[in-house]
Symmetry: C2
Subunit: 488 residues, 2 copies
């Protein structure tokens, strides 16, 4: 529990509030005094070298320079104006995409280390691309090195769960229309819906048939729709959705509904009628349809902050099902990695924790941009999906406020007096308070070919933040040594 000043913990003539090793207080216990033990962990979990590094980054002369860098990075995030501008095919529009390249969620990983759900998605991708005729053939091909694997994040793209993007897949195209956003584009596949889907590692006929419908019918229709309609301001749409019970990660019903309203009139004119009905029906049946826009919107905002020297702001949090990686605004492209964690949550009937794969997907980009768990106070109904109570939802947003550098006024939370969501995770605060970001997420089955088994909450591994802080400490202290001039 947390101890608040002035809070009366216990009544009675003698009461002990103890902070430290538990057995030191046995004497008081034996004397019959009520003992309240405060769960305390020293900054940086007591790692002395790391704590010294942390101190150097939280005190003069570096603290002010890092704070200023973070403020500049945050301002660029807030100034970003991601718009949905079109739909294209990955090999044509995603920068650096190639015929032998598969993109995946999280930090870099090789086939031999891939978790079940990601392997399943790769198998499905090879079947979809017509490069293998059977799952066994696909596995052999993947293991042979005939396909290259790279993170989506290396290509301004993001993908939920397995996050697989193969060359023939259609992708949403987003563009930053903010004052400083010229040329900044991000990408994500179209959401497949619920049930057996590639992103959770399923690759049956049903999965491939649906992916072909998306590529052959839905995506071209949506491309024509957006040409007719013009760009859609996603930040404004998400701002509205946060007033309608979404948090932009695991609850997307409002944003999906608002997007549906925005698209439908132009979609009808982009006909033919039979495709229009099928497309509207497909979108209508999937309350998570907007997730694949919420994610590249978040990525677009965070790209704006990249390359800010000395900034301790986290710009990427992503998982491949084996590793969890983060990046900092000051060192774009450099991964700090730790082991992917299990997810605590609610399971679909017939499944338990034993079926669960580890934390997976690029979707934690939403938390990185102030959505998801950071916006949970906007979405009390989410607790039906991930567990907990409505009070927990408020508490989570407040807690994220302790490790972030500011708030995003475009994402106002009515239940918190219209305060913006906490935005911009500061790796220093995470280690100082030993408070890891919360992540709302789905849970994939640990084996390839199965699919989603539940949803819940998790944390990144502490190791990512420790490694990031060490790297920041080295570069900042190097800078301070090489340029000891006026203190910023």
């Amino acid at each position: 529990m947390s101890l608040e000043p002035g809070k009366q913990l216990l009544g009675g003539p003698l009461a002990v509030v103890h902070l430290g090793l538990d057995n030191l207080i046995d004497g008081a216990r034996a004397a019959g005094a009520p003992v309240h033990v405060v769960d305390f962990v020293p900054p940086a979990r007591g790692d002395r070298a790391l704590a010294a590094c942390l101190r150097s980054l939280l005190m003069p002369p570096l603290a002010a320079a890092i704070d200023a860098a973070n403020q500049a990075a945050l301002e660029r995030i807030l100034a970003s104006q991601p718009h949905l501008v079109g739909v294209g095919v990955a090999r044509d529009v995603v920068p650096g995409m190639a015929a032998d390249l598969f993109l995946h969620a999280g930090p870099p990983i090789t086939w031999d280390r891939m978790a079940g759900p990601l392997r399943g998605a790769v198998v499905g991708g090879l079947l979809l691309e017509g490069r293998a005729g059977t799952p066994a053939e696909a596995e052999g091909l993947a293991a042979s090195g005939a396909v290259r694997f790279e993170p989506c994040h290396h290509h301004a793209a993001v993908g939920p769960m397995a996050g697989l993007i193969t060359p023939s897949m259609p992708v949403w195209i987003l563009e930053d229309r903010g004052p400083d956003g010229v040329g900044r584009r991000t990408f994500c596949t179209l959401n497949e819906g619920l049930g057996n889907v590639l992103r959770y590692g399923a690759y049956g006929d049903e999965v491939l048939t649906r992916l072909r419908f998306i590529a052959d019918t839905l995506a071209p229709l949506l491309a024509r729709t957006l040409e007719r309609r013009g760009p859609i301001d996603l930040k404004s749409l998400v701002g509205q959705a946060l007033q309608m019970g979404d948090e932009g990660h695991n609850r997307n019903r409002a944003a999906t509904s608002l997007l549906f309203r925005e698209l439908a009139p132009a979609l009808v004119s982009a006909g033919p009628g039979v495709d229009v009905v099928r497309a509207l029906d497909f979108i209508h049946r999937n309350d998570h349809f907007f997730l694949n826009l919420s994610m590249p919107m978040a990525k677009c905002m965070l790209l704006a902050a990249e390359g800010q020297p000395r900034s301790s702001l986290v710009t990427v949090m992503a998982r491949n099902g084996t590793d969890f990686g983060i990046q900092l605004a000051s060192t774009p492209g450099r991964w700090f990695v730790g082991p992917a964690q299990p997810v605590k949550g609610l399971y679909f009937p017939g499944f338990t924790e034993r079926d669960a794969g580890l934390d997976l997907g690029d979707s934690a980009i939403t938390e990185t941009a102030g959505l998801g768990a950071c916006a949970m106070a906007a979405a009390p109904a989410i607790v039906q999906f991930v567990g907990g109570s409505a009070e927990d939802a408020l508490a989570t947003t407040r807690e994220m406020g302790r490790i972030t550098v500011g708030r995003n006024p475009a994402f106002a939370v009515p239940a918190l007096g219209f305060a913006g969501t906490p935005t911009g995770i500061d790796v220093r605060r995470v280690l100082e308070l030993n408070l890891l970001p919360v992540i709302n997420t789905g849970i994939a089955h640990r084996e390839p070919g199965v699919g989603q088994v539940g949803a819940g909450l998790t944390h990144p591994p502490w190791e990512c933040f420790a490694a990031a802080l060490r790297a920041l400490g080295e570069s900042c202290n190097d800078m301070a040594r090489s340029n000891p001039g006026p203190r910023l």
Copy 2:
């Protein structure tokens, strides 16, 4: 303020908590003691005869019989399952509708006593029906008795603000598909949108042109759409909308979005294309489109409770801009009337309280059914529209819980741990606690022909509830005298 047991009001050696006439405490004030005056009003506002009547209804032998009657009435409300089944023309489908009949909001009223906005709507209705060529001619006709006026509520219909239903207007048709709902149908016009609209008393060309588009294009298309699609379960849809920031009266963005999703696929097939695009665009541009379904849904639920002997449950609250009328479940069709009240709220730029008409419309049927102000805790963002804070929204729902007999589990509020909205206003509790229902509402300009000037909160007049209680007291005490048998 309300005094809670065990709450410490003031510290210090001497403190006075005073309940009663203010000047009695001047001595303590002069002595320098801190004085906290509790704002106390005796039950039934100190009206001795009414208080005696109230006591008789809150004590044996009547209390238990009334409680049981209210529980039975509430159960019928909760069992009701209003579905949207079609669209028709008022003269063809509304029971008792006639060529010379105009329906209006609130209790019965004659032309000479009608408020400006209702007069404006009547003028517009006569122009729309082609019975007058100019506003002046229409006013003469209305005054001449050539048109009969009756409340919507006398015809199982409801109308927002002026609530005008003329014979040629299209109406939504709702049907109760609950186990006990056979044959129960309710009706409401299609929402016109914002700006200059008939329901706020405007009658210019723009208003009439829009009404003709609704009658000639939108309504027939929606009728065909519903024939193709089949009935829509409105209670389930509103239940979802309450998890998305709606309260079902002054905020309908979520329900409108969900309805849009439900309608669009079938609407496209009901073509022709040019009308489909126009219809989708019309609905998309009006976040209040669903209000005209929320209201007849509420009416449908409350009709189920009508005719329950001894029940003190309120089944109608409605205003015509001059009078406010309520009805009880035990005496269907009998109005208890008091003066319509001013509305406290936020005004559109260029308007102030001086422009405002009094409280108007049948839309308080939503509060009567546990929506609107009763559901405000579900819609913290509503405070941007009606004033106040997010905490006020929670407090309002909690307060309504003090004067209602139960909760509707179909309308769960995430922020209150998924408790249902307080449902079924008990006229006894209103008078016992001197706590009038809160009503969320729009504000019409006081003059005919202008339109909406703001939105806010109001209360019914106390007189309605006093009159209803007296009537209930008479009939219950009569029953008790004529049948003094076993106490229920």
